[in-house]
């Protein structure tokens, strides 16, 4: 939904984050509160919410109405899909991926998590760490979200009791340690009353940490945290000889986005999978030459030598090659309505590359609630499993834990053309 935005004074880029929890945890109220207190709700939207609240006999405006969904959802009383929402604070632009928390919609949570750099996991202060909390945390961790914020909500219903907060914090840390989640922080809050979301309120004096918005404003952008290796999957080859300009006759531009790392003119590079070695002759965008390109920038690379490069190839720095392989070990999330069929061939798309793939083995299926590893012969909708694939063509990969862009893939069913799975390379 559209929102009032303030003009960025300091442009701290853009942060994508994910909210997970069920309706009962007050997730909609939390998002509504965040938008309301950052002055991001516009007059006509607020007016419509006030009218609906009044019609439902409420005394104050129900902020959760802001995330009220499609009529197809209201008919069934459920949230069927990830919704994206936008706001900006003057320092930063935010994209919220709002994932429904229902058990049967693991696929939505995985989808929302795939582009997020921070996850807010809601816990009801009265109920503590539930199976659902574990499931959300595991999925956030599996999808490589580097920062997890556990928002212990409804503190108003436990009299803002510090002991309740500490108990939940202790329980969560014990379980997080078993998953290997290390970057996690905890905030006590009341979305209903607005405590510790944008304003501190005056009922949580015992808590000295940052508010939710403080954390969002300070969280690092995706590529600012670690040294990353240069990865440039080629999307499109530009050969404009038909443009009629004789200077463009020999022009060959390799177009794509720097998925990670950075590169400068003159550096030695490898083209994968062919392993041909050359140098960067120029970096361009729309007729402008750049000395270097950084992560997430879409540019055109020109190379010193006439090497054969096409869509699906990847340019990397010569001393930092990726693994070129015809076999991948993965964690796979299955979304298809029909089960994964070990006899069938599927299509795998990774970066800008596509290959046919055959299932080699299912090592185990993971019970997402108990996190137990179980033997499995088939995978059904919303199952998560460790599987290996044989590939018809080589892929150029990094482990997902090291590089989300080159470690991720989707599985396509060639009969329906549907996306039936998503995986992370181990």
């Amino acid at each position: 939904m559209s929102a009032i935005e303030r003009l960025p004074e300091i442009d701290n880029g853009l942060l994508r984050f994910l909210t997970c929890g069920s309706v009962d945890d007050g997730k909609s109220t939390l998002i509504g509160r965040l938008l309301y207190d950052t002055k991001a709700i516009l007059a006509d939207t607020l007016h419509a919410m006030a009218r609906t609240s009044e019609r439902r006999g409420l005394e104050t405006v129900d902020l959760s109405l802001l995330t009220d969904g499609l009529s197809a959802e209201r008919e069934q009383g459920i949230t069927i899909d990830v919704a994206y929402r936008y706001f900006s604070t003057g320092r930063r632009k935010y994209i919220i991926a709002d994932a429904p928390g229902h058990e049967q919609y693991t696929r939505n949570m995985v989808t929302a998590a795939s582009t997020a750099n921070l996850a807010i996991i809601l816990v009801d202060a009265r109920k503590g760490v539930l199976t659902q909390t574990r499931r959300h945390s595991y999925l956030a961790h599996l999808l490589g979200i580097p920062h997890i914020v556990v928002a212990i909500n409804k503190m108003d219903l436990v009299d803002y009791d510090q002991a309740a907060f500490e108990r939940i914090r202790g329980d969560y840390l014990k379980f997080a340690a078993t998953l290997g989640i290390c970057d996690v922080c905890f905030i006590p809050l009341s979305a209903l009353n607005g405590d510790m979301i944008v304003d501190r309120g005056d009922r949580l004096d015992w808590y000295q940490g940052p508010t939710l918005l403080d954390i969002l404003e300070g969280a690092p952008s995706a590529h600012s945290e670690r040294d990353e290796r240069f990865r440039f999957p080629v999307q499109f080859v530009c050969r404009p000889q038909q443009a009629g300009d004789p200077r463009l006759h020999d022009y060959r531009g390799y177009m794509g986005r720097v998925e990670s790392g950075e590169i400068a003119v003159g550096e030695e590079v490898l083209v994968l999978p062919s392993q041909r070695r050359t140098r960067i002759k120029a970096i361009e965008i729309h007729g402008r030459s750049l000395p270097r390109a950084i992560a997430e920038q879409s540019v055109t690379l020109l190379l010193e030598d006439e090497v054969d490069v096409c869509r699906g190839d990847m340019v990397v720095r010569a001393e930092e090659s990726a693994l070129v392989t015809r076999r991948i070990e993965t964690m796979l999330c299955w979304f298809g309505e029909t089960a994964l069929d070990p006899q069938r061939k599927y299509l795998i798309r990774q970066t800008t590359r596509e290959t046919k793939a055959a299932l080699e083995a299912i090592d185990y299926r993971l019970d997402i609630n108990s996190l137990q590893q179980l033997p499995a012969e088939h995978l059904g909708m919303n199952d998560i499993a460790r599987v290996a694939f044989k590939l018809a063509q080589p892929l150029c990969v990094d482990p997902y834990a090291e590089n989300r862009a080159t470690g991720a893939f989707i599985v396509i069913d060639e009969t329906s053309n549907n996306t039936v799975g998503a995986g992370m390379i181990l």
């Binding site: 009032i4 442009d11 499609l70 197809a72 936008y86 920062h147 007729g287």
Partner: protein, 307 residues
């Protein structure tokens, strides 16, 4: 938490990030689709798309033609600008008209005065079939409306052009799936993640030219249901209407019968940005007469093949 750790690497500003994402999406369309088209109306969002297409594909030509579905009820300033821009860019522009569909009988108006806006879907599907387009690129944004907030960047449509919100393809990371069978279609939305303010800031930064009606001008209007209805040949004032001449500008431009201007003195992009940043009404709520009819009207239109 390490959230406050020093940023070691340069990161892109929010506009640079959005632009880079949109370029990436356009190049994925070009890389994956055999015969795409870019929907171009002369409106501000599609003008932003054209600049992004230049950044994505120059010095080459665009790997797709521009396509406009003309209701025949557009402001002439916008149509002239559409033709000028296509000519400046030296790209191919295809125009298909709702009036042709009416002549063929595939569009039948309930009454002569009925808005042709929703009938664009029919003409669009006819154009898709005529040229065999497997993908149409559009300038829709997720912040416009709640049905759009849930739509994929690569949105699958069946052979009737229908969008099924309950059965969308999962879309993860930046791995888009544009595969379709013959007759089916992808609608790709490269500026899904932009807001209205982002669009205006980009127009300012890139010094993009716009049709004149985006800027404040004097126009005769009638106040109707909280909106300003422009007085035109198509939408004449009734006898009991109070006609006022006000300084107005359009925030969106579309079919004359369903696009309302707002009162404004903003005659430059910078002043529009100031107003947009301070506005308290959503873009569609203020200016689209077609979305006010029912809470679910966009969702309904999209299911029927609308953009």
């Amino acid at each position: 938490m390490s959230a406050l750790a020093l940023q070691r690497h340069s990161t892109l500003s929010h506009l640079d990030w959005l632009e880079a994402e949109s370029i990436h999406i356009l190049r994925e369309v070009a890389g994956q689709c055999a015969n795409p088209a870019l929907l171009f109306s002369g409106g501000k969002d599609s003008l932003v798309l054209l600049r992004i297409a230049e950044k994505a594909f120059r010095p080459g030509r665009f790997p797709f033609p521009l396509l406009h579905i003309d209701t025949g009820h557009n402001y002439s300033e916008v149509i002239d600008f559409r033709d000028l821009r296509a000519c400046q860019l030296n790209e191919r522009l295809i125009v298909r008209s709702v009036e042709d569909s009416m002549r063929r009988g595939s569009v039948v108006l309930k009454s002569p005065g009925e808005s042709r806006n929703k009938h664009q879907s029919v003409t669009l599907l006819e154009a898709i079939e005529e040229f065999g387009f497997d993908c149409c690129i559009g300038g829709a944004r997720r912040d416009e409306e709640k049905a759009r907030a849930k739509e994929r960047i690569f949105s699958f449509r069946d052979e009737f052009g229908q969008w099924d919100p309950k059965n969308q393809r999962p879309e993860l990371w930046d791995l888009y799936n544009a595969r379709v069978h013959k007759g089916e279609n992808i609608r790709a939305f490269p500026i899904s993640n932009w807001t209205e303010l982002d669009v205006w800031q980009y127009i300012e930064r890139e010094r993009l030219e716009l049709p004149s009606i985006y800027f404040a001008h004097r126009r005769q209007v009638v106040r109707k249901g909280g909106l300003l209805q422009p007085v035109t040949d198509l939408t004449p004032a009734c006898d009991d209407d109070l006609v006022e001449e006000l300084s107005v500008r359009f925030r969106t431009v579309g079919d004359i019968t369903c696009t309302a201007p707002v009162e404004s003195a903003a005659d430059t992009v910078a002043r529009i940005i100031e107003e947009t940043a301070a506005t308290t009404i959503t873009e569609r709520g203020e200016t689209r007469l077609d979305d006010q009819t029912s809470e679910a009207s966009m969702e309904q239109r999209k299911k029927e093949g609308y953009f």
